[in-house]
Each structure stands twice: as structure tokens, then as C-alpha cells.
Symmetry: C2
Subunit: 448 residues, 2 copies
């Protein structure tokens, strides 16, 4: 499917410089040593989840597909590499014609993952695959960290909608990707207009304290807002005195007032008081939105409070304490020669120090118990056991260089809801614990 078919404006520049220099120097040396064309398999995985987390959430797959499609070296980039003498002329020639022509399989976006899960598998020549390391990791590490935090928050919020409003707390373009990942993880809307523009996410927002302070009286500000945005708007009631503001709000907008927003103070206490006051004023349908430094724990603690929606900023865009996902991109197999038919050899770093990897090209499947609940993440290098054949997790994303798995963002969002629901119930407990599924390895040598 062409991206234009999704009806979303997309504007992805060349992604070829989102690359660490060593990828180009390795390419240069491999071209010189005659190994560049050896068929190779790289895999993205993580050795561990963030401390105490029960599951990870794949975020950014769709952005990886955009990035791979746009990974081209134009004249300005080639000139830069030439002037800096990062590569030689032979390599520049090779880069000028670069276009990824291999295959990519991976966990689809929104799927959950565990330590060792082969989240993405990139296969082609060493030369064409090694260049994609940094951009693939940047996207998956960032977006998955946000999606995981969003998932915990949306589990804690239950049916109450979550508003993403963290743009001001992170890099301006990371914010757009964060909005996107939050939507995958279960958020309903965003305040970030760029995220609405780029990804079609519903946007919301009415006013800040500055708008009240701009006017001579709070009442003037409320009247101006209601006059312009209608009675269904959300009025911010904590600039001066909350109780007085609520009274003024209902006087100005009537009992049809859409919502009030509380952005400071003891939210549990204030929400109860405001609810009581609104009810006494007859504004029983007026909703309460809270938005002050919330995270999944604060959301959970407000479960019994009369709150109708949560706005989350800082803790969402910083991954609620874990702003990155520690995924790595490792060569796990490569051919013995540049003959395209040469068999693959499993390879892995061997030295001590906790950074060892499992070699070999892997499949993954999620085994269910007799109740249909997931009980293990099974990863193997040999044939897939028959009973797991229809529980496999990797799907084809890129085939011979062509993206074959583009999908609307809602598909990833719905997939995440299903995937999380298929885990044991303890997955969504907020308390720290082990990954909710164990990872089991089925190695070729051990049979299967």
C-alpha cells in the first residue's frame, strides 16, 4: 500500500545520515576485503526489559519502514562524506546507488515482546544491512519506550481516555513520534498539532493559565473562551481559587459546560470537591480533566476519584523512568563466502562481560496454555514445531527491498490491545516484577 492511500500527509527526508560513522567505515573496509557482499542476517532484540517491567511494546515499526524506504545518499550527503574523508571514492560510488534490496521480518507494531524476542530481522548483503543499524535502533528504542509507558498508563486508566500532552518536555520531533507511540499504546488524543498533521491522531486543547492572566478578570477569560469555543469547551479552573473559578465557570457557560481542568494541587481531594460543587450547581454532565505530572501510579491512585480524563506529559514522553529500550542490532548469521547460495554460519560475540548474544537466524512464537492465555515466548533457530506453526510472531515487512506491510496506525493500536489482553493478568500489575512470560530457546542442535 502506498502511504498516500492512508490519507495522511507524510514528509520523510533522506534518513541516510541517521547513521553512526563506523557503519560507513566498516562498509568501506568490507568492500576492500571482499566480504561486503556476504549474505548476512542482523537481528534486533533486547537482553532485558527495564527493571521491574512485565512486558515490552513494539513501537515505531511503521516509522522504520519509512526510514528504510528513504535511506538514500544524495549529492549533498556524498559531498559531505567526501570532504570529511570518511569513505573513499569506491565507497561513494557504491553509496550513490544504495537502495536496500533485502528482506525484513519483524514483530508487527503494537505486539508485546520479552527479553530475547527477535523484534526485527534484517537480511541481505552485509553491506546493505550494516548501514541500517543506527536508524532502526533509534526509532525502535525510542518509540518502544514510549509505547510501553503508554500501555501501562492506559491499563491503569481503564475506560477513561488519556490525552498525550508532553511535546514541551522532549525534542520537538521526538514529541511527534512519542504522540504516535502513545496512540499505539492506548492514548486517545494528543495536544501536539504536528502529530495530528503527520499521523492523523485526534488533537485536543483549549487554554492555559496565560489566557486567564491575560484578561482583567477570570470571568472575562471564561466568557471569551465560551463565546469562541462554545459551552462544550474545557475551562481551566486553578489559576486563582478553584471553588470560585468553578462557580464562575458554571455561571458563564451554564450547566452545559463541557469540562473543567485541574492542573495543580492534591488532585484526589480537589477532584472530589469540584465534582461535589459541580453537582450542586446542577452541572452533573460537566467532566473533570486532571493534568498535573501524572504517571501510571498517579493514574491508578485516582481510579476511585471522580475524574473523567487524564492528560499526561513528562512521564509519557520520558518513558516513565525508562526513556530508551536497550535494543541492539546484532549480526547473528552470515555466509561463508559471497556466493549467494553459500550456507549461513551462526555467529555471536563470545567474550565475557554480559554482552554475549545467541547466534543464528531465529523464529519466535507465543505458546498458549489450555485456557488460551500466553504462557511462554519460544525462540528457536531450527524448524518451527508443528504445534507453534500458527503462533509465530514475525511477519514479513519488506520483501526484496519493497515495503509489504504498511498499515494504518489504528491497526497497531488495536493489535496492542489484543496482545496485552492475551497475556496473563499479572502483566498489567504496576508493581515491579519479572517479565510476565519466560523466554524459552529451542536450539537447532537440541532438536525440536
Amino acid at each position: 500500500m502506498d502511504v498516500a492511500d492512508l490519507g495522511l500527509p507524510v514528509d520523510v527526508p533522506s534518513t541516510a545520515l541517521f547513521t553512526d560513522q563506523y557503519e560507513l567505515t566498516m562498509l568501506r573496509a568490507a568492500l576492500a576485503s571482499g566480504t561486503a557482499e556476504r549474505r548476512s542476517v542482523f537481528e534486533v532484540f533486547t537482553r532485558r526489559l527495564p527493571d521491574g517491567r512485565r512486558y515490552g511494546v513494539v513501537g515505531g515499526t511503521g516509522r522504520v519502514l519509512d526510514a528504510v524506504e528513504n535511506f538514500r545518499f544524495d549529492a549533498a550527503v556524498l559531498n559531505f562524506l567526501r570532504e570529511r574523508e570518511i569513505v573513499d571514492e569506491e565507497t561513494l560510488q557504491w553509496l550513490a546507488g544504495y537502495r536496500f534490496s533485502g528482506d525484513i521480518w519483524g514483530y508487527p507494531e503494537g505486539e508485546v515482546y520479552f527479553p530475547g524476542s527477535p523484534i526485527m530481522r534484517v537480511e541481505g548483503t552485509f553491506a546493505e544491512c550494516v548501514l541500517l543499524e543506527t536508524v532502526i535502533l533509534s526509532i525502535l528504542n525510542h518509540d518502544s519506550a514510549i509505547a510501553a509507558a503508554a500501555s501501562r498508563m492506559s491499563a491503569a486508566a481503564g475506560d477513561r481516555p488519556l490525552i498525550e500532552m508532553g511535546a514541551r518536555r522532549t525534542h520537538e520531533l521526538a514529541a511527534v513520534a512519542a504522540s504516535r507511540a502513545a496512540y499505539v499504546g492506548g492514548f486517545a488524543t494528543t495536544s501536539d498539532l504536528a502529530a495530528g498533521f503527520r499521523y492523523g491522531i485526534p488533537t485536543v486543547g483549549t487554554s492555559a493559565h496565560a489566557f486567564t492572566l491575560l484578561h482583567d478578570r477570570e470571568r472575562d477569560a471564561f466568557q471569551a473562551q465560551v463565546h469562541t469555543l462554545g459551552r462544550g469547551t474545557t475551562l481551566l479552573v486553578d489559576t486563582y481559587d478553584v471553588a470560585e473559578a468553578v462557580r464562575t465557570a458554571v455561571e458563564v457557560a451554564g450547566t452545559e459546560l463541557g469540562a473543567v481542568r485541574i492542573d495543580s494541587g492534591d488532585l484526589l481531594l480537589v477532584a472530589h470537591r469540584v465534582r461535589q460543587q459541580l453537582d450542586e450547581l446542577g452541572a452533573r454532565d460537566t467532566k473533570i480533566v486532571v493534568t498535573s505530572d501524572l504517571d501510571e501510579y498517579a493514574i491508578a491512585s485516582l481510579a476511585a476519584a471522580p475524574v473523567d480524563a487524564y492528560g499526561v506529559g513528562t512521564q509519557l514522553v520520558t518513558g516513565s523512568g525508562h526513556p530508551t529500550s536497550s535494543m541492539v542490532y546484532k549480526l547473528v548469521a552470515r555466509a561463508e563466502s559471497t556466493d549467494p547460495k553459500a550456507p549461513l554460519v551462526a555467529v555471536a560475540k563470545k567474550s565475557s562481560g554480559g554482552k554475549t548474544s545467541v547466534g543464528g537466524r531465529k523464529w519466535a512464537a507465543r505458546r498458549l496454555d489450555s485456557y488460551g492465555v500466553a504462557e511462554a515466548e519460544v525462540i528457536g533457530t531450527g524448524p518451527v514445531p508443528a504445534e507453534l506453526a500458527d503462533r509465530q510472531l514475525l511477519v514479513e515487512l519488506v520483501k526484496g527491498g519493497e515495503v509489504v506491510a504498511r498499515e494504518p496506525l489504528d491497526a497497531a493500536r488495536e493489535r496492542h490491545t489484543r496482545a496485552r489482553a492475551g497475556l496473563p493478568m499479572s502483566a498489567t500489575q504496576l508493581s515491579r516484577g519479572e517479565p510476565v512470560l519466560p523466554t524459552e530457546y529451542l536450539h537447532e542442535s537440541s532438536g525440536s
Copy 2:
């Protein structure tokens, strides 16, 4: 100065959508209520430093200037806002002609800051200033968080160079800004080619474990690398056995080998062993680079180890535990009417809950003790005391909408070195503590 004069390629798209929706709905309501043209002063400040930190570092000022200059609403953006019915036609007309025409003063990039420091002051009509909130905060909150972490690391590293290599751990464009902020905070180089391209930061990088694993023998990989990149290259020696790799490396490259890199294991122990082995092999000038999950504490703990350079990734781009800076953008004063001559009234949020602000348009100065060491951050709303007149911190950045303070990145980097050196020595202690300077307020009413 035009950005092109810096000799750096710059490509900043329109920044107008890096905006929270409420800024546009406030604009719309203010245009309707007749308050949009009231002269207003917004200030950027933080109520606190991250827990235990001694000082903050201003990062991103140069990027803010680019963002303000490029804040324009083109047809695609206006159509989006129209289709989503976020604003009305009157507001769309206003936005179509938008160009910031006010003044911006601020702490120059690389300067240090403290709780309450007016890091940036934006002055103009309410309408033109309110729109810049999100993009200014995104840039300053992100870049300052990275610059602060970089500063702590560079203080810990002393004269040993720091390499920024965190691109894969954060959003691909946040990574470019992080490289830039790291350079301001004292890093020497980056692995991120986009940061080299966009900001002229020196780039480095040679090879990863994948390059060794691609070859049939470690020796083949080393030979290929040395053949292509020269004897001065850096060989990665921890794919299999470190001692064997170091022996092979010197056999292949000779004693002129530039450096070896260690990326796993007990770095203190391994560095000592490798240094001894290199010396015994006669490779006394071969340097040792270490690169495994370092932060400022790990760097400090290696001060006595025979290490020549540090590569830092995750902890740099995630702000070493504090990925954002909690800066806010608050209306502190506004005119009583739309008359351009109308006097300014100080305004501030008043409700309880810890989010109160100090109203009024502020100046800031750093008072020195008799030894010339900084002793207090003085912030005031009245006249500047004569003895502080030449210690003022805010400089003019934008005048009547024109950027007047563009500077090369090295100027910010050097400014940071000077600013940090002017603080009490305890500023660079890594242990948790209070801000190294107290913030003193001199209010207009209290005289000065």
C-alpha cells in the same frame, strides 16, 4: 549573521506545528475578545533543578532562534487547521501572515542556570508570543537536559576526550540535537553523521563486533580494517578473547596502532591488563578507548585507569537519569489594554499546589565574591543595582523579530567552560547536593 555564513548546512522546516493545540484556541479566543494585541512578557524558567544536581546548563538557544525564524504557517498547515476546525477563518487569516516581530532576551547558550533563572524572556503581543510556547520549551527542555549531563561527564573526564555515541538510544532527530548539546557541554566528537553534517561537529568511528564476525578470523577483520583505514585506526578487541585480540592487533598494525576499543567487561581491570600488554608489545603510544554503558560516575571511577578516551551513549542522550529540564513558559506581565504604550501589569498564577510563579519582567545577574567566584544568582523586577550592572546574564537574541545573536557552536562551548569555571568548586562534585548558588530575589517593592 546569516546561518549560511557559519559554513554549516542548515535545513529547518517550518516549525509552526510544533505547537500544542491550546495555543491556537487561546489565540482564537483572544482575537475574538480583543485582548490578543495586549503587550505581554513570557519567561522561561525552572522551579527546581533535577534532584541533587548543582547547576543547569542552557542548551538549544541557537536552535530556538532557528525555530522562531522558521515559524510560519504555509498552505498545507492552514488547510489542516481549517479541516480540523481548530480555528476559525479570522484566525487563519491572522496565522497566514504570522511572523514573530517581538524581542527575545535570554541566557546565552552554554551559560549555567539555577532555579528561577529567567533563561529566556519573550516580549511582544500576547498573540505572537503565546504561539511559541511549545517549540521553545521542547528545544530548551531537551537540549539543556543533555547539555547538563554532558557537562557533568566532561568535568569527570578532565582532559580526556569524550565521544558522543548515543544516536541509537534516542529518536533519530533528538540524537542530532543531543550531539549538538553534548558538544556545548564539553564533548569532543560524535559518531552521528547527521550531527557532523548539520552542525559541523567532528565525527569519529571505525568498526563494530559485526565487522569481526563477518570475517572468518579476527585477524582477517583487523587486516581488512588496517589496510583500509590505516595503522592509526581503532581496533575493537573484545569480540572473542581480549588478550589474544590485542596480540593479533599489534601483529597486524604494528606498534603504530592508533587505539584499541574495549566495549564490555570490567573496564577498570581490562584497561589495566590491556595497557600492560600493549606496553610489553612495544605499543606504548597505542591508546585505549572504553565504551560500555558509561555515565559520569563510571567515568570518574576510571580516572586512575589507563584510559585515553571515553565513548558515551545511553546515559548522555537520556540526560543521565534526567531526560528533561522541567522548564516552563509563563506569562509574567501584560499590558492593561491594547494600547502599545499601556503600562505592564505583573501577573502570576495564585492557586495553591506548588506551581506558583513570580510575576513581573525580570533581569538576572550573577554576584561574585571578593575572589571573583560566583556566590549568588540575583533576580529582580526593579532597577538593576549599580554593582550588578556589568554582571547581567540576559543578552539580546531577537530584536523586532530579527535574530541578532547567531553564533558558531564553539562560542557556546567555550562559554560553558568559562561559566562552569566561575562557579564554586563544589559545582562539579558528582555527589547529590543543593544548587551550588542560591537564588536571591530583589523585588521592585522592596527597593534595591
